[in-house]
Symmetry: C2
Subunit: 124 residues, 2 copies
């Protein structure tokens, strides 16, 4: 568990869980548990996606045709998993979210005091 005093609230990440998942699926098909661990490792435990959030994101995104699922028991033999792969529509959506993120970063930053990593201004 991350024992940050400043944890990331789910309201902030809200709407970006999908983007995170798609980012991972862009590197190849994967399944719930693996994606969950990948998010942990990418963020160095700073963000841990909840299981229910993850699986409900799958359902939603498959309905939106951003991802497609298939069954695979893997090489291990037993235990079947549901793998997901990103679709072209998912790819497009991902790209849009990336553009949106750049805009959002800019906008929110204007209301933030402290860091003063100005948006335009790339390093001194």
């Amino acid at each position: 568990m991350p024992e940050n005093n400043t944890a990331i609230s789910s309201d902030v990440i809200r709407g970006y869980n999908d983007t995170m998942i798609l980012h991972i699926l862009r590197q190849g098909p994967s399944y719930g548990y693996e994606i969950s661990k990948r998010i942990r490792s990418i963020t160095e435990d700073k963000y841990i996606i909840k299981e229910t959030t993850l699986y409900s994101a799958f359902t939603r995104m498959e309905k939106n045709n951003y991802i497609r699922s298939y069954e695979d028991s893997g090489d291990t033999g037993g235990k079947k998993r549901t793998y997901y792969r990103i679709t072209e529509e998912g790819q497009r959506y991902y790209n849009e979210k990336c553009a949106e993120w750049e805009l959002t970063k800019d906008v929110v930053q204007r209301f933030i005091e402290g860091g003063e990593h100005g948006n335009d201004q790339k390093l001194s």
Copy 2:
């Protein structure tokens, strides 16, 4: 109206509307309509807060003791307005949100392709 193709979705800003409002109130007491216009101008119309969102934020934040309201008809004579001022607890909350934002920016950025304004970013 901002005719951006990439508009900011409310899910992203969610949880930062309060921060924006507090940012403005840090500069002195204000009221709904004015704050709304300030947000528009600060963001250059890139983000326009909905009236209902704004007023429900007031209610919520006053309940949380982040802001305190008082009636004032202004210098114009008629038309009474409800002004809000930030409290010390609100100030503290604002500071926390700013810290959280820096963390969030870092985390989300790791899943974004394109801009490559990496934070630390080792780039290939």
